[in-house]
């Protein structure tokens, strides 16, 4: 190695890997089926089946099988929609924004995070589609020439913006993810024989690794990243418009877009941590998803946790400072009203608990990270529940005040989305390399532990003194 070796740069690939080791380690999980994988997939599929049953029940019996009422028209479904769509933000953030910032640690986790994004958006999309009550008419939401007179959708409505934002986000994330996957599918293809080779050959789209193709590939990735960066910020901004453009006290605030985006990144990274801590253990990827990766993500969680916490406190302050009685009541109601427990859950999980990550030892502890990631996701779920349900429960007219608790059908659909999410994730882990093979190889010489870090620096020094 002729480049100077920095002792302070922490290696992102450990175990003195060669290029061939990387291929072997990352592709071999797709080449064998383990019992634990089969059991996990069956369990997820069962959960999914229960969710499908609850969906069928909803359509058979009607929305009356849910506990939403005249006062609280948005309950579990919209809470879960916002929760899942928030989770779906980390993938594109990791792959796009961190690509633009040239953060090398993204390569260890981007593939799985992008897959997670796509599956989370699928789970999210299910809720508004179901919420319409007659999902077979959902195509009415798209503007198309029709026979109902020249009848168009309302382009001024944030709900329609949401439809455009989420379908665009889903499409762009899918393209970005699959394009990145193609060279790795070619790697799988070239190791396989017989039918398996034919199948992977079909999906690898005839990738050869030609220099011109790589040049275009890098150009495409960079521009898709440039496009996806404002996109990822726009999606949750528009989701927050669903609330912010209404005239409900507690919703009608300009802080919503940045606050929602920060919350989305916060919960998205937490879900990435949940998945990564398990995946790296089960697939033995500790050399590629290192403690350094986990620490970087925990730093992001700490930062976004504080942004979210600041937003909560700002909301309270502005409610008081506005002098507007309805706004004040909305926030008094959130903290001390019938859903005080959700507010405590939100504050505890989102604002207090991430502070554990100020301590380096905890940031670098996998077990703590795993439990913290679950806490954060519970907290972010409570946040949406607080915003939606506790606000609606106490509206302008005390005579219509109400209380909402989900029915078994609503809970079942929510559980079903976990089934959908994990089934898809497990299938993905089985059929495709869960870490981007080509990208990891490309950073080996600048992030491998034989090239950077304390150990490598010592060796370089010893070699120089001879």
């Amino acid at each position: 190695m002729s480049q100077p070796v920095s002792p302070i740069r922490e290696p992102l690939i450990t175990g003195h890997k060669t290029y061939h080791d990387i291929t072997e380690d990352l592709v071999s999980p797709t080449e064998k089926t383990t019992v634990s994988w089969a059991l996990a997939t069956m369990a997820s599929a069962l959960l999914l089946a229960y969710g499908v049953f609850c969906l069928i029940w909803t359509f058979w019996v009607g929305i009356g099988s849910w506990n939403v009422n005249r006062t609280i028209g948005w309950g579990y479904d919209i809470t879960n929609f916002v929760w899942w769509i928030g989770i779906g933000h980390a993938g594109t953030l990791i792959s796009a924004i961190l690509l633009l910032f040239r953060q090398k640690w993204r390569t260890g986790v981007n593939r799985a995070a992008e897959a997670m994004t796509i599956f989370a958006v699928m789970c999210a999309g299910l809720f508004p589609a179901t919420h319409t009550g007659r999902p077979w008419f959902d195509f009415f939401m798209f503007p198309y020439p029709n026979t109902r007179g020249p009848l168009w959708v309302n382009f001024n409505s944030p709900l329609l913006w949401d439809l455009f934002a989420i379908s665009t986000y889903f499409t762009v994330s899918l393209l970005f993810w699959y394009t990145g996957l193609v060279p790795d599918l070619a790697t799988v293809r070239d190791r396989a024989k017989g039918l398996r080779r034919k199948i992977y050959g079909f999906f690898a789209m005839g990738w050869t690794g030609s220099a011109k193709h790589w040049q275009r590939f890098e150009s495409l990735s960079l521009i898709l990243a440039g496009l996806a960066t404002p996109l990822v910020l726009s999606v949750h901004t528009i989701v927050s418009f669903d609330f912010a453009t209404s005239v409900i006290p507690g919703w009608h605030t300009t802080i919503f877009p940045p606050y929602f985006v920060a919350g989305a990144i916060f919960s998205g990274f937490a879900m990435v941590q949940t998945l990564m801590t398990i995946t790296r253990k089960l697939l033995k990827l500790e050399d590629y998803i290192t403690i350094a990766h986990i620490e970087s993500m925990n730093k992001v969680i700490l930062l976004t946790g504080w942004i979210v916490g600041t937003a909560y406190l700002t909301e309270l302050f502005i409610a008081w400072y506005s002098g507007y009685i309805y706004e004040m009541f909305a926030f008094y109601n959130r903290v001390f009203g019938p859903y005080y427990w959700a507010y405590i859950g939100m504050m505890g999980c989102n604002v207090l608990s991430p502070n554990i990550f100020w301590i380096k030892k905890f940031r670098r502890n996998v077990t703590i990270t795993f439990f913290m990631s679950i806490f954060v996701n519970i907290g972010m779920w409570f946040e949406r529940y607080v915003i939606i349900v506790s606000t609606l429960a106490r509206d302008y007219l005390p005579s219509s005040w109400s209380y909402y608790w989900p029915s078994w059908v609503e809970i079942g659909i929510y559980l079903g989305t976990f089934g959908l999410f994990f089934t898809l994730y497990l299938i993905f882990v089985k059929v495709a390399p869960v870490v981007a093979v080509a990208e990891v190889k490309a950073i080996l010489k600048t992030a491998g532990d034989q090239y950077v870090g304390v150990e490598a620096a010592k060796k370089a020094e010893a070699a120089a003194s001879h």
């Binding site: 060669t18 290029y19 061939h20 291929t23 503007p143 020249p150 009848l151 168009w152 309302n154 382009f155 001024n156 409505s157 329609l160 913006w161 455009f164 934002a165 665009t168 499409t171 762009v172 393209l175 970005f176 394009t179 193609v182 060279p183 070619a186 790697t187 293809r189 070239d190 190791r191 050959g201 079909f202 999906f203 789209m205 005839g206 990738w207 050869t208 690794g209 030609s210 220099a211 011109k212 193709h213 790589w214 040049q215 275009r216 590939f217 150009s219 495409l220 521009i223 898709l224 496009l227 996806a228 404002p230 996109l231 726009s234 528009i238 418009f241 080509a438 990208e439 190889k441 490309a442």
Partner: protein
Amino acid sequence: MKKKDVLFGLYDDEEILLKAVKEARQQHLDIMDVFTPFPVHGMEQALGLAESRLHIAGFVYGMIGTLTAFLGMTWIFTKDYPIIFGGKPFWSVPAFIPITFELTVLFAAIGMTVSFYIVNGQGFGVDNPTLDDRITDDKFCLAFDKSGKSQAEVDQLRDFLKRTGASEVHEKTIEKK
């Protein structure tokens, strides 16, 4: 289908390959292509590849998306179906911004990705010939087109590959469209 005789060397490291490519260019050898398992930095300059024009295409697709969304909504809400929402003007530009932005991104992303696969000659089920299975693993390949060259010239290329550090030198006939 045309047959193509290819002479190629497999290198073990991208730095050795990069040096070989630079030397081949200095000697004005006619490189057919270079195949690597990952994008190698400096390769496009070494090969003298022209800058990709994909971003220009992306801009054009994006503009088509912008215009489709903005002009479409303008036509719908001022000519085809004017209706008052909340006392706002028919042509309420600020409300058109989110959808205009989303369609810009959508058109640019889809257009660029499709263009990428078309110019690469890629697609689902396409079976482009590959020289060696290890090129997507850990081998770095420098390939020369043998057809139309005399035996002496081919031997010279073979020597060049060996001298610049290729660990293996092979020949293969591939079918090229």
